[in-house]
Symmetry: C2
Subunit: 82 residues, 2 copies
């Protein structure tokens, strides 16, 4: 994934996951330094609505708006945050 493109796209994530990938709200996960392939897998599971429970419905809406390329770029960006 393209980290720069991911960072640009991540504006929509900052509200819950923080501008630095440290979540504002304790029920949301920190994403900074998370494993890239896991993030791709999680985003696809939200997009396909296979992930439910908790706040999943919120993420299904977010992920639904993402293309495969967006998902790869976002995963690369958040994984890259130290």
């Amino acid at each position: 994934g393209d980290i720069t493109a991911g960072k640009a796209k991540a504006g929509m994530c900052a509200g819950c996951h923080g501008s630095n990938g440290k979540a504002m709200i304790p029920t949301y996960p920190n994403l900074a330094g998370q494993n890239q392939q896991y993030l791709v897998s999680a985003l696809k599971a939200y997009k396909s609505k296979k992930r439910n429970g908790g706040q999943a419905v919120v993420m299904q809406g977010m992920a639904g708006a993402l293309s495969e390329v967006d998902i790869d770029n976002l995963a690369a960006y958040f994984a890259s945050i130290k």
Copy 2:
């Protein structure tokens, strides 16, 4: 949750998530320093089989064996790892 009890219970998690909460395998998430309430929510979603997709079926088996107290203790433990 009780961090010490969580650490004892976490032996079964180390194989994939690492003994220090840094996953061995890139498709699995790092858990070290993750938000405690998020971890509880995720474990419950696996236990209730609401979370599917990717490797979720593996975690459903793991979480299925956990009590509410185990879940709280494990979440406290992984959240406490710096």
